[in-house]
Amino acid sequence: MTSEKMLGSQVKHLLSNLSDHGTQHLTEVETDLVQTSFLLGEAIEKLGASFMAIHEAITAQQEAIDLLLSGAKPTPEIAEQIKAKHSEIGKHVSAAVTGLQFQDMTSQLIGRTVARVTGLRDVLGGIGSGSSTISENNAEEIISTLNSINKVLEEQSVKLESALWKAVCQTHMESGDIELF
């Protein structure tokens, strides 16, 4: 193979590698951000609904108490109403507790995104550093340097991928499965 062909092959390999690995990491970043957005949106919606429901239940409970304070005779109906509202508040607080756990999941997803972006920046930085050492006159040296850059790019990309296990696959803020062994 002539030097020109080898040079062309290495450049082609580098561009292809850069495109493949860059696309792969950025696609993962995109997926994580979309998932984060879903979780945040759903959490806010659920927390808002719980907040309003708790407010309504407390208002109804207060009305029953005010009625008693104004001298009304405590009836089984009023007692039942207060008890029912208490139970309703507990149910909505539980829903809010589930919704509030969004921070744990989204922070893991954001952490993974940050690690991937930082890793990709390091990969691109490595390519920049490698390219600065390329000789402008010697084809053999250029081929050798491009070959090294390609290897570093592949190694760093694989290393980054293996360090980024995806621990959060949830796309909804519903409570998860329970399994006793």
Partner: protein, 121 residues
């Protein structure tokens, strides 16, 4: 006397939710910020139940479980995982390490309390 639970999680907000839910059900809950902190606290006191996350700095949940199972005082103490991890692969690793159950986040306080009650009363 209230049953004691060690809640291990690196997320402060998640620990807060666990403590809120279990204290309301009458349990005495101690918090640990990661696996290493959990192990240190478990060595100082034998809890009735350990509830741990998986992905944490310094020491993860599976390593914590293996370390606890290596202690004579923790060979029979129930240990539950409470984690975002939901794959069968991870559940099998948990079971092999010595976990007694696997709860996927987010948790519902009532269901968490029911499970804890079922396990330690």
């Amino acid at each position: 006397m209230a049953k004691t639970i060690l809640a291990v999680d690196d997320s402060g907000s998640l620990r807060q939710m666990v403590v809120f839910s279990l204290r309301a059900a009458g349990y005495q809950v101690t918090e640990a910020v990661d696996g290493q902190d959990g192990l240190d606290k478990a060595k100082g006191q034998v809890f009735d139940l350990v509830l741990t996350d998986q992905n944490m700095p310094r020491m993860d949940g599976l390593t914590l479980i293996r370390s606890l199972r290596g202690l004579p005082t923790y060979q029979k103490v129930p240990i539950l995982m409470l984690t975002t991890e939901s794959s069968d692969e991870m559940k099998n690793k948990g079971r092999a390490a010595g976990a007694n159950g696997w709860l996927v986040k987010p948790f519902d306080p009532q269901r968490l309390t029911e499970v804890v009650r079922k396990v330690i009363g």
